[in-house]
């Protein structure tokens, strides 16, 4: 047992850090560190820079163009990226659909879809949830009927994050109503430019357009876009959720935010003293700092476990999202009443107009509101507790 990084791992960290120093554009860094509005072009630019370096997919094996890094290297990479102010890469392609294609897809599908994900040319979104199928995902009703060499898809998906930018959507669709609900589900890749697809924005409580409804009206999808076997989609979906969950711990980003929060606590004034001298605030900061340390080490412990993460990944989702939410809440509280002003135009990089309080106050409350999603999406934290109860504890 040794909690120190090896000299090789430290050297790897230095290499990543140097690359980021030299290649992360200043405007992207500024946008991320000031927590400004995310931007499609920014995400694509950054993915391209990583791709050109050969680091487009830190979690993929080499045979598909990934880095082939081990879990510790992946964590070091993510952490350094977050601390440097790099934007988060798009999970939907890289961490969600790609492992499914690699594991269950045909050779043709791998050749067709993985390169676009790696280079960032193809923007993917997720078609899981429906208005009537949230936590009870298996009750989904969007149907796909086989007609010749096509499926005809009808129905509606919702909560589709960044679907407004997407070229492709991976969907769970119902191909059979026989047997248990889980048994009639298939996993289908759909081109968002197909006629019959309509994307309508859902405005979130922070006033931002991040999520969407996606409507399917007699959408023709080539049968070759089916992953694996018909009616086996539930297996692939669960596999994907396991991959999603380990990513949701998000330790690198939370460490970067914790660093920022400590700076804000030193800079914000509480009467004649810096806020950090306020014991009540600082004790809560210390508590959160300890919890983040525990999360960081628990992630490492789970990911280096030779038995593999398994249902324990649910712990990481729960704790990761709880800690993330508390970080955003404390960032808001740190800026105090300066956080009350809603100035959406100030979330753009070129904004030079008046604002209330520091630059940290501008996104503080909006981010706090927005981040309530963390404990809800990716399988709500209550669903994660069900998973622990059933799969870990055998209840």
């Amino acid at each position: 047992m040794d909690l120190n990084y090896t000299p090789e791992q430290e050297a790897f960290r230095a290499e990543v850090r140097q690359f980021l120093d030299e290649n992360l554009p200043d405007d992207i860094r500024e946008r991320v560190q000031k927590r400004l509005r995310p931007d499609k072009a920014m995400t694509e630019r950054w993915q391209k820079i990583l791709f050109d370096k050969g680091w487009g997919a830190s979690t993929w094996p080499k045979e598909f163009g990934g880095t082939g890094w081990d879990p510790i290297q992946q964590i070091i990479f993510e952490e350094e990226c977050a601390l440097a102010g790099a934007p988060r890469q798009l999970d939907f392609g890289l961490r969600m659909v790609a492992p499914v294609i690699m594991t269950f897809g045909s050779d043709e599908q791998k050749q067709r879809f993985l390169p676009g994900i790696l280079s960032g040319e193809d923007w993917w979104c997720q078609g899981y949830s429906e208005p009537g199928a949230g936590s009870d995902l298996a009750s989904l009703r969007t149907s796909a009927k086989r007609e010749g060499d096509h499926y005809i898809v009808n129905g509606q998906k919702t909560w589709t994050t960044l679907g407004q930018h997407a070229d492709w959507i991976f969907c769970l669709v119902r191909t059979s109503t026989e047997g248990k609900p889980q048994q009639g589900i298939s996993f289908l890749l759909i081109d968002m430019n197909t006629s019959g697809i309509e994307v309508r924005p859902i405005i979130m409580l922070d006033g931002e357009h991040e999520i969407n409804e996606v409507y399917f009206d007699n959408v023709q999808v080539p049968a070759e876009n089916l992953i694996g076997e018909e009616n086996q989609g539930w297996t692939y979906a669960k596999f994907l959720l396991g991959h999603e969950r380990t990513g949701l711990a998000n330790v690198g980003q939370w460490k970067a935010l914790m660093k920022r929060l400590k700076t804000v606590a030193r800079e914000e004034q509480d009467g004649q003293r810096p806020l950090i001298e306020n014991t009540r605030f600082r004790d809560r900061l210390a508590q959160l700092d300890a919890e983040l340390r525990a999360l960081e080490l628990t992630v490492l412990r789970v990911l280096t476990d030779k038995r593999g993460p398994g249902p324990q990944a649910s712990i990481l989702k729960i704790r990761g999202t709880e800690i993330g939410q508390q970080l955003f809440e404390m960032l808001m509280e740190a800026t105090g009443q300066d956080a009350i002003a809603h100035i959406p135009e100030a979330l753009e990089l070129d904004y030079s107009g008046p604002r209330v309080g520091s630059v940290d106050a501008t996104p503080a409350a909006g981010d706090y509101f927005n981040m309530r999603k963390l404990s809800i999406f990716g399988g709500s934290n209550e669903i994660q507790r069900n998973i622990i109860a059933q799969l870990v504890l055998g209840l």
Partner: protein, 382 residues
């Protein structure tokens, strides 16, 4: 970076697990506790023959040259079985202190005796009113020729009543709470002027209140450098905290196991109560808290031997904070999920709860250690 036990540690873990399961039954433990002796000598001799009592001592002193990770493995298992023998007091605290700060003669005198199981020691440091402030010591040691004369009052001396020798902290200079001016002495528990009041604790261990009245101690029983004992005491307490964190994790895992068993078998409304989602989620939270505590116990053990004081202290305080909070949570919830049975003396869960509660109170509770982490944050920002 790896979290794996070595092959030897894995074997140690397996054999301790077997020992706790097969040879340290609930009834046997009850008998040891009600004897009032605070220790079962046969069990202790067994520990000695397994090498446990000198595990972290150098090989020159009949030890095995182990480290705090080995101690963690031992304590986790002791936590699982609620072992009441004075391992923490004698081996971890006193043995660790002599190992780290004693001179050759003292190590040769004390460590083989601990390792063989023949000698018990206790650390007499805490004083009334000091609460968790390690530097507050009013017991005095006055130089008198080639002796020191020690007078004062010590409280919460774990297994002090069973000890053959006491390690006593005393002020040789400075003000009441100064870090400098503290010294440590090896004192015979039967020396003239030592009065020991031995008490049971709620969790089956023993504690003593000890008063020293002009106790004469020869100068060669001074441990380490005069006036400079504070870092030694702090380090020994950190080893103790790391060990307590591991013990708590073992007790929490046992609490989860026994609670899980209970809610799978106890039926109400025609079904096992574990079928109720409200209980499932609470059980899941107990599991999450325990896993987080386990991580922090590993961190504490990894840093406990470290000479980098700032790193060690931060890790130890973060660990004791989260482990203390988890111990409270898992303890209370374990009792609650047992319903009425949870508040009876016959249930293992009740005894686990009591030990978990007292672990939080020992060597600084969660509030105390959170304040340490918090003050470090302030210091780091200055």
């Amino acid at each position: 970076m790896n979290f794996d036990l070595t092959e030897e540690q894995q074997m140690l873990n397996d054999s301790l697990r077997r020992f706790v399961t097969n040879e340290y039954s609930f009834e046997k433990r009850e008998a040891i506790i009600s004897s009032g002796a605070g220790i079962d000598r046969a069990t202790w001799a067994n520990f000695a023959s397994m090498g446990l009592l000198g595990f972290t001592f150098p090989e020159d002193y009949d030890g095995l040259g182990g480290n705090a990770i080995d101690t963690m493995v031992v304590m986790e298992n002791f936590g699982r079985g609620l072992v009441v023998e004075p391992y923490l007091a004698t081996v971890v605290l006193a043995g660790g202190l002599i190992r780290d700060a004693g001179n050759d003669a003292q190590k040769a005198d004390v460590l083989p005796g601990i390792a063989s199981g023949e000698r018990l020691l206790a650390l007499a440091h805490s004083e009334p009113g000091a609460r968790y402030n390690l530097s507050q010591v009013q017991t005095t040691a006055r130089k008198d020729g080639d002796h020191f004369m020690i007078s004062g009052q010590k409280t919460a001396v774990l297994h002090g009543g069973q000890a053959d020798q006491l390690i006593v902290s005393a002020r040789t200079s400075g003000g009441i709470a100064d870090e400098s001016g503290l010294s440590l002495f090896l004192v015979d528990a039967k020396a003239k002027g030592v009065r020991v009041d031995d008490f049971a604790t709620h969790d089956g261990h023993r504690t003593a209140e000890i008063s020293l009245s002009n106790v004469a101690v020869s100068a060669d029983n001074l441990i380490g450098t005069i006036d400079e004992a504070f870092p030694v005491i702090e380090k020994a307490m950190d080893l103790g905290i790391a060990a307590l964190c591991a013990e708590a994790v073992g007790a929490m895992e046992a609490m989860n196991a026994t609670t899980l068993e209970y809610i799978k078998t106890r039926k109400q409304f025609g079904v096992p109560i574990g079928k109720f989602q409200v209980l499932q989620h609470r059980m899941a939270d107990m599991f999450i808290q325990t896993e987080q505590a386990k991580t922090m116990a590993i961190l504490a053990a990894s840093e406990a031997d470290s000479g980098d004081r700032a790193c060690r202290r931060e890790a130890i305080s973060m660990a004791k904070t989260l482990v203390g909070q988890a111990a409270r949570y898992v303890g209370q919830e374990g009792v609650q999920l047992h319903g009425g049975m949870g508040v009876t003396d016959e249930m293992f869960a009740a005894h686990l709860f009591k030990r978990l509660t007292l672990i939080n109170l020992l060597f600084g509770d969660a509030d105390h250690h959170l304040a340490q982490v918090s003050d470090n944050l302030l210091a780091a920002s200055a």
